[in-house]
């Protein structure tokens, strides 16, 4: 009898304890660059389940996508992002430089310079490759219509530009003037400069404009998957750039929202096996060696140039993409 009473008492206490602990509901805003929609659409519910199992709390992640530069400016102008997952380090660093929303050493806070995945730049052409595009030389020929986004707004576009520049340097004895002329020809062939990578994909695939889309590798594979290999082909150039899209918790805003812990864990989970699997499945290059090896065969090998070759993003941005930089000189009004 006494044992029964004790058991019942214990059960009542447990029930009361469970009832008194209510699951919290947390919201996060992930401000990301253009082509990561499918990645985070798949990743977010997986993280939410993980977080629920770990803490009992419900987390809802809202997404915002757009050209990386444009997204960074939106956060600076007041968009309250808990985390940013942008296309390049320079855009994330602006959150420190302009408003100290993140710490100065943000890039050291997560592994691999805060890049849980990498990608590169390839070409997407119409099925049959009617213009026989093989490499960067082929897309600057007269009569080839290119689709690429605007480097002023899109992070992917800046990777595209630097990939072309790298190729030109390699094939012209590192001559900047020759590289500038080469990239000038490329933009002369540009039919439309969308504001972001996804816009360019829409232009090329849905509006059927252009002969070649210079695209994120993941975006190109996604297009093949969605629209079928009977419509398009991926051409991997001989040389391209190693794109390292970084991620960061926007400390100032996360602290204000009380979401620092969950936001940090949200980004850390990208490095987990589950996160890296999702990354690989969505045609990004995982940084986990084991998962990277598993997905290696879905990518064609090519020479990859790192941003260090340009002196880092600060130098590259100032030289090429700032007002009156090289890009403005080759693609200003009247050019």
């Amino acid at each position: 009898m006494k044992n029964s009473v004790k058991s019942i008492f214990a059960l009542v206490v447990l029930a009361l304890a469970a009832g008194s602990v209510q699951a919290a509901e947390v919201k996060l805003l992930n401000v990301s660059y253009d082509p990561t929609r499918e990645l985070y659409k798949e990743y977010n519910p997986v993280f939410a389940s993980y977080w629920k199992a770990k803490t009992g709390d419900d987390v809802t992640i809202n997404q915002s996508h757009g050209g990386s530069g444009k997204q960074a400016r939106s956060v600076l102008e007041g968009l309250e992002a808990d985390v940013v997952t942008l296309a390049l380090g320079y855009d994330v660093d602006q959150l420190y430089q302009k408003r100290k929303l993140i710490p100065e050493n943000w890039q050291t806070l997560l592994p691999n310079n805060s890049s849980p995945y990498t990608s590169t730049i390839v070409f997407l052409v119409r099925k049959g490759n009617p213009l026989k595009i093989k490499d960067w030389d082929d897309i600057v020929k007269p009569g080839v219509s290119i689709v690429t986004p605007n480097p002023k707004t899109s992070g992917g576009a800046r990777w595209n530009y630097l990939a072309a520049w790298s190729y030109a340097l390699k094939h012209n004895n590192n001559d900047d003037a020759a590289a500038q002329a080469f990239v000038g020809k490329l933009y002369k062939n540009a039919a439309v400069l969308d504001t972001g990578a996804r816009g360019s994909t829409t232009t090329f695939i849905e509006r059927e404009i252009g002969d070649v889309l210079i695209a994120w590798e993941n975006e190109a594979y996604l297009a093949l998957k969605e629209f079928g290999p009977e419509k398009f082909e991926i051409i991997t150039p001989s040389l391209s750039i190693l794109a390292e899209p970084p991620v960061a918790v926007v400390d100032d805003i996360a602290r204000k929202h009380g979401t620092t812990e969950v936001a940090t864990e949200y980004l850390k989970y990208l490095y987990s096996k589950e996160g890296q699997e999702i990354i690989g499945k969505n045609f990004y290059r995982p940084t986990d060696p084991e998962i990277a090896a598993k997905y290696a065969k879905q990518f064609k090998p090519l020479e990859l140039v790192k941003i260090d070759a340009f002196g880092g993003w600060d130098v590259a941005q100032k030289k090429h993409f700032a007002d009156d930089g090289v890009f403005d000189q080759i693609y200003g009004p009247g050019k």
Binding site: V192, D194, G199, I209
Partner: protein
């Protein structure tokens, strides 16, 4: 096949059928078969004819393909350009110009600058220039009939970061004091805001009414026993009935929320005073003022009582030899209490020296077109002139009633006509009629200092007014005021009443 040919064949068939009347039944079957064959052939001919009318489809030429691609590309470029332009437009500030003045608001609505203005031009005509009036000395004599520029204000107001309000208001028609208002108001929360700078003292109810919104050209006697403006700091806020949102109202005037309070410390500018900006305060003693005002029936469902406002204001100070201002009549602006005219036993300058306090119970009520307002003040100060020290307790009161004849709602702020003045369309704006009775009793002890033949012991005024609102920005006011006095004339042995002052005044006003 043309319709004519088909009709012709059908006619032949019909004729054939008619002819079959004379043929035996065995021939009818043969004819029916024949009809069916012919119908079938007609159908086939029809189909062939339809096909032959279609133009032949030719393969698209390379030029057409090229043009199509160009058009597609141009369309896409336009879409991208639209996207960029829309994005840029969304970041652009919003500029508005209209009846409320000119406003520039940032795209995120966190900042706003508003340019406003007010011009008042008056005309005053003294109706009773009789011999007695002429017998008064020059400073008490009624002023000449005149036109005057009463106000010429252009000011900036607005807010930054949503809740830091500012107002900078110069008045180019004011002599000497050309900056009536200049303040910042950090409205952190509707219930707790901090106002600093130069602003209206939170004492007289009629003083707190907007300078463009008063019912009469000039305010009544109680207003002049409190300072006009002062420099200081004020903590203020408002509360609403539970369940209702409190409005944030920047500045010293809040006639919207259920309960408002103001508590402040200022330099203390004395009766009717407003400090000049080029003469800093030299007295370390400051004035504390406070006001509590409420609308007790707001949100109660008693619509005819919702517009009832009740409150009390007060101040306490301890000025040290502060100059005192003469008191003047509202519309005539003629001096009836003159501290510069001492009686025979005093020769110095009269100053306020010692504890002062004021208490202002006040109320208004607005219901539909009807408006009532009243206030009472006891103003106590210590006056000093040489060896003479007195405690002066002046009292003043006013009650006014107004009625908007054209049906618009009366209120503490501006009347907005339902239809603007446009006589060709038969609309005349809005008309408000008003009447006011006001009086000021000067403490008799005052005449141990001032000359009773030059200063009245009581002034009493009744005023009739008509306000014609042409639109929400422009109006014309007409006032008739009759002020009677007790004392203020005669001789030391036989003090008589100063003659009445009768003034007819008009004002043209534009405010935005």
């Amino acid at each position: 096949m043309t319709n004519f040919r088909r009709t012709a064949i059908a006619s032949v068939i019909n004729l054939a059928l008619l002819g079959a009347n004379d043929v035996q039944a065995a021939n009818t079957d043969a004819l029916e078969r024949r009809i069916r064959e012919l119908e079938s052939r007609l159908e086939k001919l029809d189909k062939a004819a339809a096909l032959s009318e279609k133009p032949a489809v030719s393969a698209a030429s390379p030029e057409v393909e090229k043009l199509n691609r160009k058009v597609n590309t141009l369309e896409r470029k336009l879409e991208v350009q639209d996207e960029v332009t829309t994005g840029n437009f969304q970041k652009m500030p919003v500029v508005e110009a209209g009846a409320d003045g000119f406003k520039i608001t940032s795209s995120d609505k966190k900042h706003q600058v508003r340019i406003r203005g007010a011009v008042q031009t008056d005309a005053r005509f003294f109706l009773d220039n009789n011999a007695n009036a002429k017998s008064l000395n020059t400073t008490n004599q009624e002023g000449p009939d005149r036109f005057e520029l009463k106000q010429a204000r252009v000011w900036l107001e607005g807010y930054v970061f949503n809740n830091i309000y500012f107002k900078i208001m110069p008045d180019f028609a004011a002599s000497g004091n050309i900056l009536p208002d200049a303040y910042l108001d950090y409205a952190y929360h509707p219930a707790a805001s901090l106002l600093v700078g130069k602003f209206k003292s939170p004492l007289s109810l009629e003083r707190l009414q907007g300078d463009s919104d008063t019912v009469f050209l000039e305010r009544a006697f109680p207003t002049y026993l409190a300072s006009n403006r002062d420099v200081g700091i004020q903590f203020h806020g408002a509360l609403s009935k539970p369940g209702y949102k409190t409005e944030t109202v920047a500045g010293p005037i809040d006639a919207r929320n259920t309960l408002t309070y103001q508590v402040g410390v200022s330099n203390g500018s004395g009766d009717s005073g407003s400090p000049n900006n080029n003469s800093p305060d030299t007295d370390s003693n400051k004035e504390v003022n406070a006001r509590l005002f409420g609308h007790p029936f707001q949100h109660t469902g008693y619509s005819w009582l919702e517009g009832l406002g009740l409150g009390v204001a007060g101040s306490f100070g301890d000025p040290n030899q502060q100059a005192v201002k003469n008191l003047t009549t509202p519309n005539g602006v003629s001096t009836y209490l003159d501290y510069t005219k001492n009686n025979s036993t005093n020769s110095g300058v009269t100053t306020s020296n010692g504890a002062t306090y004021r208490v202002y119970p006040q109320a208004y009520w607005y219901a539909g077109p009807i408006g009532l307002m009243g206030e009472y003040v006891i103003s106590s100060q210590h006056l000093n002139n040489g060896a003479t020290n007195i405690k002066q307790d002046n009292k003043a009161y006013q009650v006014q009633a107004s009625y908007v004849v054209t049906g618009e709602d009366n209120n503490f702020g501006a009347i907005k006509p339902l239809r603007n003045f446009d006589p060709l369309k038969g609309s005349w704006g809005a008309l408000q009629l008003a009447a006011r009775w006001s009086a000021l009793d000067v403490d008799n002890k005052t005449f141990t200092i001032v000359d009773p033949t030059k200063s009245a012991s009581r002034a009493q005024a009744w005023t009739l007014g008509a306000n014609w609102f042409l639109n929400s920005n422009a109006l014309i006011r007409f006032d008739y005021e009759n002020v009677s006095f007790s004392g203020g004339a005669g001789t030391a042995k036989h003090i008589t009443d100063r003659p009445n002052e009768q003034v007819f005044a008009t004002r043209f006003q534009l405010a935005f």
